[in-house]
């Protein structure tokens, strides 16, 4: 099964993996926290809307916030207890700004809702599977957090040839996908088959980087006599990026501005498959996820299963705290993760890792002038020229940067990682993308304003015109009347 044909990938980098810090640590369940902080937005799309009030008693797995609109996801109580607050709590975001959050006081009893167990999930209709995945609040657990049910429905309507399961985990340090594949391979394979059934995929490929031989072996053993094909991919960053894994496994490229479904491909993360299996087979909504705790400043790096809403602080305490003061705290992997400063932030559905990094691990240095060495061009997996884009952005020429492919940038950070001048290239690109979006919004607004102003001017002109016309009419009438009166008077006099 390992001899599947692989296709060539452009660019990429080989950051030091540092996965050995936590790769051999079994998944452990975090002790039940006293308070859980569950944000209403943990996914791409509209925030969920709360369906509980302060003081309500909830059961583990009970719906507490319902999806809003086309792109959204529901949220469930991670444990049983009492809702103590519906308010703001620090967000898992670099800004650390507060976001709407449901605060749940645990009662320590872990009383579940009644879960429906299904003996033969393949007897369900594909539509039913998608509906149950949606009801379970499952989102892409690789980090993108796109609502999974929506992806299933979109893919079913457009037709899927190939289902790709992403077990790449190309980010350094992170080992939670590695561990889940090693320890829960049978469940994952069942989840994969359920997803494939839901979208009627003809081919199922599980791509795993070859730096995880145990995970590959476990997944292969679990997929014997199934249509699931496990493929070892070369270890390279960003192999686990959606566009890149599609390219390396199928040789196809997602058209610019398009979706994988356009070329008959659907990509899901392996941890998502596990969540799908739990939801369909046992009726369990998504209440927890695996998180890797690692970095040189963490005393005992490990992999934990944490309830959604658990403060990161408690995870760090579980890993025996800090070995040394952390120079930087990161949620996610080091290549694309986000820095955070407040350890009260909760674990959310997209939290794959909590890293406490030392200064030497970060390797930060003052930026120096660009020597146009083009290392960034060689590293870019998309075929962009970061050196040219950044010079245009520095000159505020965003249109030229777009011509060089700014909108095709996947923000993987490969260019920044290799830049000998330590220029924060991705930072420039994300700033420019934000600026571009703001400009486009302003332009739309200006156009709308102009339209309204034009309409107003026209209306005023029309009213004036009508007034003038009315005045002219009145004047004419008056004059006609006067002339008539004069004529009558003259006639009287004559008579």
């Amino acid at each position: 099964m390992l001899s599947a044909k692989l296709f060539k990938l452009r660019g990429g980098v080989h950051p030091e993996g540092r996965k050995n810090l936590s790769a051999e640590r079994h998944i452990r369940t975090l002790p039940l926290p006293q308070k859980l902080f569950v944000p209403l937005q943990q996914h791409i799309g509209a925030p969920a809307s709360p369906v509980v009030n302060v003081g309500d008693k909830v059961l583990k797995g009970q719906l507490i916030a319902v999806a809003q609109g086309a792109v959204s996801s529901s949220i469930h109580a991670p444990t049983s207890g009492v809702i103590v607050a519906l308010g703001d709590h620090v967000a898992p975001h670099p800004s650390g700004l507060p976001v709407p959050t449901i605060t749940l006081q645990s009662d320590g009893a872990e009383n579940w809702i009644a879960c429906e167990t299904i003996a033969d999930p393949f007897a369900l209709t594909p539509e039913d599977i998608a509906a149950r995945v949606g009801a379970a609040g499952i989102v892409g657990l690789g980090g993108a957090t796109f609502p999974s049910a929506l992806k299933l429905n979109l893919s079913r309507s457009s037709g899927v040839q190939t289902l790709i399961m992403n077990g790449g985990e190309c980010e350094p340090y992170l080992t939670c996908d590695d561990r889940i594949m090693r320890e829960r391979a049978a469940e994952i394979v069942e989840g994969i088959r359920l997803i494939a059934y839901a979208v009627a995929a003809q081919e199922i490929l599980v791509g795993i980087e070859d730096n995880k031989p145990e995970a590959i072996a476990a997944m292969q053993a679990a997929s014997v006599d199934t249509p699931v094909k496990v493929v070892a991919m070369p270890s390279m960053y960003p192999m686990g990026s959606e566009k890149q894994i599609i390219q390396v496994l199928t040789g196809k490229e997602v058209p610019a501005g398009g979706r994988p479904a356009d070329i008959g491909v659907l990509v899901h993360n392996v941890a998502t498959a596990y969540a799908v299996q739990q939801a369909i087979r046992f009726g369990k909504p998504l209440l927890s996820r695996l998180v890797t705790l690692s970095g040189g400043a963490i005393k005992t790096p490990c992999n934990v299963e944490a309830l959604i809403g658990t403060p990161v602080e408690e995870l760090i305490a579980f890993a025996d705290g800090y070995a040394q003061p952390a120079a930087r705290m990161v949620l996610g992997g080091p290549m694309m993760g986000q820095q955070f400063t407040n350890t009260n932030v909760p674990v959310v559905k997209g939290t794959s890792g909590v890293l406490a990094l030392t200064a030497s691990e970060i390797g930060q240095a003052e930026p120096s002038p660009c020597i146009r060495c083009s290392t960034c061009i060689r590293a870019c997996p998309v075929g962009l020229m970061p050196v040219e884009m950044v010079s245009r952005i520095r000159a505020s020429d965003l249109a030229a940067a777009v011509d060089f492919g700014l909108k095709d940038c996947i923000a993987c950070g490969s260019c920044s990682y290799v830049c000998p001048a330590h220029i924060p290239l991705v930072h420039y690109f994300n700033y420019a993308k934000g600026d571009l979006a703001a400009q486009e919004r302003t332009k739309l607004k200006q156009e709308a304003t102009k339209k309204l102003a034009d309409a107003r001017n026209e209306r005023i002109a029309r009213i004036e015109r009508e007034r003038a016309e009315a005045a002219a009419r009145r004047k004419a009438a008056r004059e006609a009347k006067a002339a008539k009166a004069a004529a009558e008077k003259a006639a009287e006099e004559v008579a």
């Binding site: 980098v13 490229e253 610019a256 990094l357 003052e366 998309v382 020229m385 990682y417």
Partner: protein
């Protein structure tokens, strides 16, 4: 807490000083060979070049009100002066080195806006300036012989003592002169050209351009360390060797063969250390190949039909000027788009 930083939160262990340091290291064998071959005058000239570049750069950067230390520490000025020194006649007077170094770092680089901003390779710009302005000093070669003592070397470098009895011509210069006298290649080369000497570098020539094999080793080291790629050097060598081979096959008495061309003049230094300067060469691998090919072809054309016996510096500057044009037309294909930049069409199934 530190200010919020953007991802990535990891970095490859690279920096500009490390890049420049690796290039200097790669140049060291050929440089030491030049010192051994030409003796103390070569060392004097090399030292004067470096000192002039450091002081000159420090002065102009200070005049601009910028911090001097980071500019000097990036190592680019030292590398420029080093490359220039290697391309000078080893017995050239001190003021040639000073003028050249100052021209390279001040006019060639800082006037354009400092590191990364210059259009032309600073070392080659300085070399061309010197060659045009001081043709006599820039073409006074010596045959490698008994190297002079230290005191004599001071007289040679700093008092412009005439090179009695030691004057010689470089191979390319000799061939050019002989042609003007109507002497064919077979006669001109006899006694002047021995491939093994050319390979090892025991010949008249610039301070550090003679040891083809050591420069090649340095270049391969840079390729192995991923500081440069093979594209530009290989293309330049091809650009010289292919026409040389063709024309040599047509008229061996008038056109020197590929080996003579490859092993003489500044070709090896140019191919591995000059045209691989990232600032003044194209960005993409394909662009670098085109650039190298152009450098090679122009070098061969100037050597064969031009007024000067050697053409590397002119060829490099001409191709430097073409670099923005090459970058405009040679770009990588973007994922999900065709070569013209349009989105790939969706397959209809």
């Amino acid at each position: 807490m530190n200010p919020i930083a953007h991802s990535p939160h990891a970095h490859a262990p690279v920096s500009i000083p490390k890049v420049m340091g690796t290039v200097l290291l790669a140049l060291t064998p050929a440089t030491l060979f030049g010192f051994w071959l030409f003796g103390w005058p070569a060392i004097n000239l090399w030292a004067v070049s470096l000192i002039a570049a450091i002081l000159g750069e420090a002065f102009v950067v200070r005049m601009q009100g910028r911090a001097v230390r980071p500019v000097l520490m990036d190592g680019s000025g030292i590398l420029t002066a080093w490359l220039l020194a290697l391309s000078l006649p080893p017995y050239a007077p001190w003021w040639i080195a000073v003028l050249g170094s100052l021209f390279a770092v001040v006019v060639g680089k800082q006037v354009f806006g400092g590191l990364g901003q210059n259009l032309f390779n600073p070392a080659m710009a300085a070399r061309v300036m010197l060659l045009i302005s001081f043709p006599l000093e820039m073409t006074s070669w010596v045959a490698p012989a008994q190297a002079p003592g230290w005191l004599d070397s001071l007289r040679i470098t700093f008092m412009s003592q005439p090179l009695d009895g030691m004057a010689s011509a470089s191979l390319l210069g000799h061939v050019k002169t002989e042609f003007t006298r109507g002497v064919g290649l077979d006669q001109a080369l006899s006694g002047y050209y021995a491939p093994q000497h050319m390979l090892m570098g025991s010949r008249a020539g610039s301070l550090g351009e003679t040891a083809a094999v050591l420069l090649l080793i340095g270049g391969l080291f840079l390729i192995a360390r991923r500081i440069i790629t093979w594209h530009a050097p290989v293309a330049m060598l091809l650009g010289v060797a292919v026409p040389a081979l063709l024309f040599n096959a047509i008229d061996a008495n008038h056109y020197a063969g590929p080996l003579v061309h490859l092993l003489s003049g500044g070709l090896m230094l140019g191919a591995f250390f000059i045209i691989t300067d990232p600032v003044t060469s194209p960005n993409t691998a394909k662009g670098q190949f085109i650039f190298g090919l152009g450098c090679g072809l122009l070098t061969w054309i100037i050597r064969t039909w031009g007024g000067y016996p050697e053409g590397v510096a002119f060829a490099v500057m001409l191709m430097n000027a073409a670099t923005p044009l090459i970058d405009q037309f040679v770009k990588p294909r973007i994922y999900g788009r065709d070569r013209k930049g349009a989105a790939l069409s969706v397959e209809k199934r």
